[in-house]
Symmetry: C2
DNA sequence: TCAACATATACCGATGATCTGAGTATTACT
DNA sequence: AGTAATACTCAGATCATCGGTATATGTTGA
């Protein structure tokens, strides 16, 4: 799973959101590092819905504009948790090795 | 940056390695989750060398077989550290949101 | 006052980067 | 003869990115 997709799941983890809100939320939670494009978002939502990780959870009209909400399924929450654990492990492993590098001048082994 | 590329940098962080060793190392550091393919590896090495993150650091013949070594540049180490930090933050954010979800039944806001 | 622009919202298609799968080749050990 | 160790290539698939289209309302300056 790539970063934009991961961030979409993460953005949905604390409650249902509509597309436009997701775009803003992903920007916010990544501290501006990721600007989610509409094409990326809707393709990801389709894919994730197909995998049963996300589902549409209703529509609403606000100020004449339609809002279509999406939320995480339980399977989606599990996948997100597993993926987060994996990122944490990868990061930890990289840090461990970078430390070894610094300790030994530049390159052990 | 995707996971295989990240793991290649991580595998190089503690010292120069040759291609075949990298494939085994990436399998090991990801606890078997990632099986690096030769195509992925050599494409990644080319790309990373082009970006100045990795460089060839010599060749050696061992038991009649050539070993071509690669290692991380200082720029590569910096990029790896930055990327690791990013993964850590993304994972932390996801965990925070998953917690919020559990606290509130299934979906706040 | 009204045209112009910004903001909110949904969505599509072409392109491109990167990974995967499936190979070729060589030497040494069993 | 088969397997492990080693280097490498190429075609195809996946997914993200870029750059659109479309519509409605709110805001602003000539």
């Amino acid at each position: 799973m790539r970063e934009p997709t991961f961030l979409v799941l993460a953005a949905l983890a604390d409650g249902a959101k509509h597309g436009y809100a997701l775009i803003r939320e992903v920007g916010a939670i990544s501290a501006g590092r990721v600007t989610l494009r509409a094409g990326t978002l809707y393709a990801a939502l389709d894919r994730l819905a197909g995998e049963g990780l996300v589902r549409q959870s209703g529509e609403e009209v606000v100020g004449g504009r339609l809002r279509r909400y999406y939320d995480l399924t339980d399977a989606g929450a599990e996948v997100l948790a597993a993926q987060a654990a994996r990122l944490r492990e990868n990061a930890a492993e990289a840090d461990r090795r970078l430390l070894a590098r610094r300790r030994t001048g530049t390159a052990p082994a």
